[in-house]
Amino acid sequence: MAAAAAPVANQAQAVLRGRLCDPAFVHSPLRSSPDTNYSKLKYLVDSSVSEACNNSVLLLGPRGCGKGAVLDMVLEDLKKEHPDAISVIRLNGMLHSDDNCATKEIARQLCLEHQLSFSKMASSDDNTDFMIDMLRECGLAHKTVIFVLEEFDLFAQGKQRLLYSLLDAMQTLTSQAVVIGISCRLDADQLLEKRVRSRFSHRKLLFVPSSLDGIQRLMEHLLMLDKDSSLPKNYVTEYNSRLTSIFGNKKFKGILGSLTDADATTSNILRFLFRVVSDMDMESGLLSMECFTHALSCMQRQPKLDSLQDLSILELYILVCMNRLEDKEQNSYNFNSIMKEYRSIQDAYKTSDKYATTVCFRAFEHLLDRELITFADSKGRNVALEYRPVKLLISSRELAQSLELNTTCPAVLQKLLDRERYM
């Protein structure tokens, strides 16, 4: 039985992982429910396609809330409903924020869409003219061109020539186009110049992280296995009943709470579930509470504290010295002043941890590497490292906490840190 369970578990895990990595599946429940951003956006685009008018809309919301995924679903559905009446041009602010580059990309995609040959040598003006001509032609043929501008805020840097020429072309009666901007900046429309803003229809759709109930429903949607899948029936029933009992558990509610307190976006939930599914017990193919708790602990690591735990005693000494210097309100200090402090400590306490300057400097460099400390100035590349002012990137609370957790840490060190705190 156990031998047979292993492939089943593999199969189930593959199904679940496939779901989590597929944004279309993640957001598919939106299709059936009314009054969502999906239905609003679809109505908007649909009406402008069928009524042959121009439109523009911004999808705003924090990263990882499914703006892009919802838009993809809408476009896919509309393509099915209106075959040959839609052509989609996709631009990304990270790649095409440069105007010339963007017009070139638009021309390239238009050529690709309409089986024209694209000339790489065409100038930016040529491309802009081509785009306007194409818009007119498409309008006459009652074909809607949909421009998707991801990272919309990045297009609003600089002169905004692209946005202007796009939106200006849409003012003519013949054209038939929809501009959809996606941005994680909620004030993206405020970034627009006056001439652009006046041509922009101020439609905005706001995407927000879903509520706790919504997240639980999403989890059920993602993790529950289908009865009529290729997996054995009794396995699916056992798996699902196990999962239902976990979802009903009070502890699970606690996990969910602490997860969403930090970040309730869909992408964070997906990451969490991905870890859970990856932790699946491959013998039985079932998810257990431990999977969820383990995944949560992995998600809630604190990198700074982790890396403080990795320090050698000497490196801790240097951090404590720096902390003392900061508490003395010495506004700027460098390696030499740290060494002075270190020496004075070593002279006062006569510990066995007194090392040569070179060794300390190596420890100092390790700290720089770990980015627990950094140079306070960006310039001064000519000055030797030991003279450049430095500063701590951790708080004294974090340092104290890590000293407490560190079992090998000498008592003197803790005393040094505590002493100056209460003095």
Partner: protein
């Protein structure tokens, strides 16, 4: 699926294990850990048969190792059908022979490593072999395998300090996967620009596609807007062959320092969104913690796997691997490891310190094969004790030997550390006599004086009477108030050595050479004959010497001041080194130094 592959792999591994194990690290003079890893991953490690092949660069080797190479000549089994043959990994043997590899650098002993019992992989459990080859990284390797395993996977970020086995664990884990995925590996540290990065990635992908498209001369995109479509096309081509692609970006942290690095990092971190290819798994390796990227990330933040530093016990275990005399080495580590561990926790540094120490430790012993008893141990410890305290206080030592090669080694090591101002002192000073002309030494001293002394005191120090007015100077400084002295000292500590123009340097140089002229005549008698006077000979190539000193970073030249026109210099050497140099030409340096 994995059934037919696994047994063959292990049998091949066990057959090739006896002859290969210790050869890769021995045959190279001094490979850096990373290089070694790549070499270990390479299909033609020195022990493998095909010698005629031109030597590929390390990165290519790695690629070749991880990617299935069509009919590799080293494969002994010809019975399998061609199609599955293509998927075969040429260096499956590298997995079990991993103890000889680098993230756990062993002290290089000249003894043949006896085959370790654990090196032989058990036929039924490749996972155990994998975990065995990653000591102390059990949890991380498991996590990695789980997160990476079947193909659709969210991006993963491996982070942790230097020398914690991130890259190694990742590469071994990827090699462990069945069916073997296509690996595209970009070590960002060795790719100096975005263009080089794009070119490298696309070249690796095109090599994978070479059967279908032979157009090798394709333009390398230099803009991200050209790169992403090209990457998508290439990846789609590979994916359509039914392969999973693992795109690995190693040393992600260095990109932040590049020109417009922030944009590139955010692009790389968002590739998952931009590509939308579920069969492509993105893996990032970074020594910086994930919070270093928070300002640059996109919607998909990768899953993190943290690699903590090794604990004492893990380091002990790692260093013990492959020791010819485990008992002896264990007793040595028992003495040495704890104190060294207080200073640094990095395995590579520890291994470098331990190697000469162990040689010292063994000195009183006749043979290295005996098992030490309690009395011998105590004797050995007493013998080692003084050396240990020395070792604790130096970062690295340069062996003083007469051969030319060693001298060169010492100098290159010295240069590297002079750049950092420290460390080089111990090694460098002993070598200094042989490599610096007298005039260069005087120049160095005058630069040191010009940097340390205030310019206003030059006249007092170097007037006609030479350095005889030290009494006068002392009185002057004692008159200054203690407060001002403190702030001055503080300032010196903060600001470092001062800068000076070339004229001042030359003036001081002339002064101090004229003071010790009598000495010079003895030293430079040959020059005297040739150049008429010792002074002239010394001055003749002073600018040449100056540029040499600048190039070797003893002095640094700041950019020229727009008003004065010429550049200003600064001496980078510290007082200890200056005193040593002065002693070597018997120049009374302390007389000329201004003490506050």
């Amino acid at each position: 699926m994995s059934q037919p592959v696994t047994p063959r792999r292990t049998t091949r591994a066990s057959t090739s294990a006896p002859d290969s194990p210790s050869s890769p690290p021995k045959s190279r003079s001094k490979p850096s850990p990373r290089r070694q890893l790549l070499a270990a991953a390479a299909p033609d490690s020195p022990s493998s048969p095909p010698k005629s092949r031109p030597k590929p660069s390390p990165r290519r080797q790695l690629l070749a190792a991880a990617a299935p190479v069509p009919d590799s000549p080293s494969s002994p089994t010809k019975s399998r059908p061609k199609s599955s043959h293509k998927r075969q990994l040429p260096t499956a043997a590298a997995v079990p022979e991993s103890p000889s590899s680098p993230t756990k650098p062993r002290p290089k002993s000249s003894h043949k490593r006896p085959p370790h019992a654990a090196d032989e992989p058990t036929d039924d459990n490749p996972l155990a072999a994998l975990l065995e080859s990653l000591p102390g990284r059990r949890a991380q390797a498991r996590d990695l395998l789980r997160l990476l395993a079947p193909a659709p996977a969210l991006p993963v970020l491996l982070h942790g300090g230097a020398a914690t086995g991130k890259t190694r664990a990742l590469l071994l884990a990827l090699r462990h996967l069945r069916p073997t995925p296509r690996l595209v590996y970009a070590a960002l540290r060795s790719l100096p620009s975005p263009r080089a990065l794009f070119a490298s990635i696309l070249a690796q992908l095109r090599a994978a596609l070479s059967s279908s498209s032979t157009s090798s001369r394709q333009r390398v995109p230099d803009k991200p807007s050209d790169f992403v479509p090209a990457l998508r096309d290439a990846l789609a081509g590979v994916v359509s062959q039914g392969e999973n692609v693992y795109l690995v970006f190693d040393n992600l942290e260095v990109v932040r320092g590049w020109d417009k690095g922030g944009q590139l990092v955010s692009l790389l971190l968002r590739l998952h969104d931009l590509l939308r290819l579920p069969q492509v798994v993105l893996v990032y390796v970074s020594s910086a913690a994930p919070d270093a990227y928070y300002t640059m990330t996109g919607s998909v933040e990768p899953n993190h796997v943290y690699f903590p530093d090794y604990t004492v016990d893990e380091v002990h275990g790692i260093l013990m691997r492959g020791q010819p005399n485990p008992k002896l080495y264990s007793s040595f580590l028992g003495v040495v490891l704890k104190p060294l561990f207080r200073v640094t926790r990095r395995v590579d540094e520890l291994a470098a310190v331990l190697e000469p120490l162990f040689r010292r430790y063994c000195e009183p012993l006749g043979s290295l094969n005996g098992v030490p008893d309690e009395a011998i141990r105590r004797r050995l410890f007493e013998h080692l004790q003084p050396h240990l305290t020395v070792a604790l206080n130096e970062t690295f030592s340069v062996p003083i030997r007469a051969s030319l090669d060693d001298c060169k080694d010492g100098i290159s090591g010295g240069k590297g550390s002079v750049k950092r101002q420290f460390g080089g002192r111990d090694g460098l000073s002993s070598e200094l006599e042989f490599h610096m002309s007298v005039s260069a030494k005087y120049l160095l001293l005058s630069a040191f004086l010009a940097s340390r002394n205030p310019a206003t005191l030059d006249a007092a120090l170097f007037d006609a009477t030479g350095g005889t007015d030290s009494r006068n100077r002392k009185r002057k400084s004692s008159q200054a108030s203690i407060d001002r002295k403190d702030t001055m000292a503080e300032e010196l500590l903060m600001k470092g050595p001062g800068t000076f123009p070339l004229e001042r340097l030359l003036a001081i140089f002339q002064c101090i050479t004229s003071v010790s002229e009598d000495m010079l005549d003895e030293v430079e008698c040959e020059d005297t004959i040739m150049g008429g006077s010792g002074m002239n000979a010394l001055m003749s190539d002073v600018l040449l010497q100056l540029s040499t000193l600048c190039n070797s970073n003893f002095l640094s030249k700041s950019r020229s001041c727009p008003l004065e026109g010429s550049g200003r210099y600064r001496s980078n050497i510290d007082e200890d080194l200056a005193l040593k140099v002065a002693r070597s030409v018997s120049f009374p340096l302390s007389k000329y130094m201004y003490r506050r």
